[in-house]
Amino acid sequence: MSRRSARWVYRTLLRLFPPSFLAKRGSEMERMFSELRETWQVERSGTVLGFWLRVVVDVLRGSMAEWLSLVSARTESATAVARSEPMSDFLADVRYAWRQVVRRPLYAGLIFLLMSVGIAGNTAMFRIFDGLFLRPLPFTDADLLMDLDETAPAWELEYVGVAYPDFVEWRRSNRTFASMAVYSESGANFGGEGPSERITVVQSSHDLAQVLGIEPVLGRFYTAEEDVPDGPDVALLTEGFWAERFAREPEVLGRSISLNGRAFEIVGVLPPEARFVSEAQVWVPLQENPEQGSGWYLTGLGRLTPEATIEQALADLTSVHRGMIETRSVNETTSPVISPLRDRYLGEFRLGSGLLLAAVGIVLLIACANIAGLMLARSLTRAPEMSVRRALGAPRSRLVRQLLTESALLALLGAAAGSGLGMWGSGALVVAMRDRFPAWVTFDLDLRFLGFILGLTAGATLVFGLTPALRSARDTALATGGRATASIARRRGLGLLVAGEVALALVLLVVGGLSALDVWRLGRVDPGFQVEGTTGFALALPAARYPDADARLAFQDTYLEKLRATPGVESATLATILPLSGHMGYFFVVEGDPPPAEGEPNPVVLNRAVSPGYFQTMGVQLLAGRVFDDFDGRDDGDDVIIVNETFARTRLGGAESALGRRVAVGTGMPDSDEAWITVIGVTRDVRHYGVDEPMRPGVYQPLRQLPRATFQVALRFAGSDADAVSTARRVTSELDPELPLYSVRTMSEAMDRSLWTRRATSWLIGTFSAVALLLAVAGLYGVISYSVGQRSREISVRMAVGAQHGQVMAQVVRQGMTLVAAGAGVGVLASMAVGGLVAGILVDVSPREPVVYLGVIGVLFGVAALANYLPARRAARLDPTVALREE
């Protein structure tokens, strides 16, 4: 653990002290802690764990003692009481507390259970949150690393990627970055002996290692001289690939590997941290030409100078970017964006995981309120004991301390069990999440985590332990041994607790309900294509063996024919991009439209090239016109295109009037000479980016018109998915044994994957809100039962003078439901207030969806009525004579 994070943990622990104490001594203690830690390390006085244990015990004891002295200074008179040795007192308290626990197993068990439930959820969620947002990135001064990108609102794209000419100018003219680099990821067929394998390759500018601050573990990084157009073919291996394929032999340097049929010389091996950039196996120089407008396809990475802020850097880059407009007019539309690395890659998860953390926090709070209620009720039954001890001269602080020890003991036991449970539960979650986050995100345990659990437990103990303890110690003087009636104030206190629990539970239920409804609706959205039973995978034809369009077309024709003739294959089709698997954007102009005005939105269009039969295989519905046939896209015919509903509506005045119009790729600049393509059909929109994302304008062209080397295959197969894949592999290798299949998945998998995060979040929030409801209702039940017990004499008297069963029951139920109604009222208001926050995780549901509110209130009142009915029935069945005779 770094010096800074250790200090952070300590600072967090110190929050346990009263603020007044902290203000005076906190910073001195922190500094001393740092010095102690260094000495401990230098002198090797003991293990790290031993050090932290002592530190934590010191803080826990010190903070508790400090709170108590504050409390006793307030409640005790000024007469000095001789203090006995705290340590032996403490042990005595623990022994006494343990005896109490053993004597009252039900009470202790309840607290233990509540505490474990509360801590378990927090443990699990904090582990996730910690891994995603708190753990430092594995680079020196990682705070200075920024993701660089370009944005183009007029194209309706948040991030378009960095164009190389922009980057070159940014790097040359900026004054706020220490260094800057760009890279892109692509696939390559890696060949050696045997069938080739699809691997991922990073193409980066020569300064990427410098920006990250990493050194090759072997050899060297490529140089600026090598990162030029037509430079030498050199490559670095990533550490994992080196270990897996080359058994970590140092002799790999100078050897050559084959990528897409080209030989690259290995010049170095990257350190493990390089996987932060990409999971790629090989890195090669980008070798891009700044003189060519190469499109926006690069990812930028910059290291700020320590003095620069993000705002300054953005202003700096923006002015450089604008300065290029004269020679590069498109920079009027694009502008640079800078975001801290973590925000860029994990920002979308921040809200969801934050909400989950808040949800488990609420569950813990409700559990604490229940424990406090239990303790309040219990303090009444212990009033005689307390008054006796007080009368015998025990100082009030001693009684408070003893009660606190009892709470702390139970809390610690519960927390230990709870964190174990939480670890176990989050383990499953972590496994499920592994491949959904960048590889550098890990969920290992660390000291931050230990600090969190300890701090949470101590905090919870103070929350539920201190109030009853103080109250109990104060009340004792009033209680006279024997029969005591709960004071009105105490019952009101219990009522407030329960109403608060109900309010909190309702907020959680609303959030859970909204999110569940949202996911349910998303699951029922028609994606516009056939999901079930469709398998997809990708192929890339290496340029060495398929040098031109004719070769590729020939392969594609034969391949499709062969696939379709294979037993089991119901239908097969090719496409550059299948749904849910990427984006390729072009700009289109419509014949006859005026050139776009400056700043006028020009949304980028999703462009796909597909083989005939695509629409039948994928189940995409045709709205007007016709689909492609085998003749479309041949050299002797007109170029044709099919547009989607959104394109037809926004650019061509609807489906019917779209047919026969002509469009062309281009931005509509006055001097351009467009190659016009005729619209022959309009199809329904397909949820190409996932059912939770809006669709943009999109078009299809015949694959023959745009023969690509990289394409995807969709297969409908009579049989299992595994059989579909093995059949496809066999057919492929019969045609070209060196061609690897990659990105293999079924459409249902792709769909599930696109919704996984939402589903998981929804399930978790739903579970937590159910637990919250259960706890709140249990609290309600407890308080009403307790109150009935306390008032049995009053009820008996009333029944003796003629009150009916129904009246008694009604009174008890009314009392309980008043609490519920009050809590629900507050909860509804609170839910409305947090609605704006929750809106961020919802797609198809308004945060004020009345159905959810009504449903939640209905469930709450139903369950609460049951919790009230049981004690009410007991009250009505009281035998007046028995209760009165007890007096």
Binding site: M29, R31, M32, E35, R54, R61, G62, A80
Partner: protein, 106 residues
């Protein structure tokens, strides 16, 4: 007025400050040295003790001594006159007890 005898850690802190004013970490080191590594004061314990001793007027905070090489400002603690008197009394008390114990045992 804190009753006698002083708690061991209080006594050791006063003793550590007898020679010169020290800051918190230095007090910890001094106490460790003068107790043959037997008493290791952790921050919360130390600073709570310092608080009590300060409230009782036995020690006071003083500015950073000029000869210290550090350019950081930090709190130094020094014995007050009352603190010095008290340390003397306590030492005499302990000495008396030790003498009594020795007379008994030897």
């Amino acid at each position: 007025m804190i009753p006698s005898p002083l708690k061991p850690q209080w006594f050791q802190i006063l003793l550590a400050l007898a020679a010169q004013p020290l800051h918190g970490y230095a007090i910890q080191r001094a106490v460790l040295a003068q107790t043959d590594d037997q008493m290791r004061l952790w921050p919360a314990m130390l600073y709570r003790s310092l608080g009590t001793l300060e409230d009782e007027g036995l020690i006071e905070t003083v500015p950073t001594p000029a000869e210290e090489p550090t350019d950081e400002r930090r709190l130094y603690y020094a014995l007050t006159d009352a603190g010095r008197d008290r340390l003397r009394q306590e030492t005499e008390l302990l000495a008396r007890w030790v003498r009594a114990a020795e007379a008994e045992l030897l």
